[in-house]
Symmetry: C2
Subunit: 103 residues, 2 copies
């Protein structure tokens, strides 16, 4: 079946009150916004291409911060913009899973 | 590739200020909460089974309110709890696409 988006990325942006850990406490929304901007700059945003979304708690707190790429269902953790850049270049642009960040 | 969730459902819960239409202005969050509760009641929540999530704007405003079911990438619109019940029973429990709600 053809997909509306070739890659649809969801960042967990759930925030819990301290001292509980949560993806948002690790900068998820800032890195989601960064990814969205980069995809737009690369001309890859939109139907038939890539969409970068925020989501509520994705239920994998122990592996967080996490994002998931559908339809392939590959999950990643990340620390900084360099990790996001690698996911964009390797996975989203070239279809190569980034094993070191996979969860 | 095996998927962490058999079905991962994202409701667009984006809200725009009136008079602009948005999924949230059509009760998306309330129906997302209803779906989440129903999946839990049916014992279908969690790893290897079903996850019901909120998401930001999914970029299909003209077809809204919308949800998407991954990994299959099937998009639905919905009006009320009866529509959500049909998506749960037909698609999520029995793998049959609900053609009348598909977008």
């Amino acid at each position: 079946m053809s997909q509306f988006f070739e890659h649809h990325v969801f960042f967990c942006c759930n925030k819990r009150a301290a001292p509980d850990a949560s993806c948002e406490n690790h900068g998820a929304s800032e890195l989601q916004a960064y990814a969205k901007d980069r995809i737009r700059e690369l001309g890859l945003a939109g139907k038939g291409s890539i969409r970068i979304n925020k989501a509520g708690c994705l239920g994998r707190c122990d592996d967080g911060p996490v994002l998931v790429v559908y339809p392939e269902g590959v999950w990643y953790t990340f620390v900084d913009r360099e990790d996001i850049d690698e996911i964009i270049t390797e996975h989203l642009q070239h279809g190569r899973v980034v094993e070191r960040l996979k969860r």
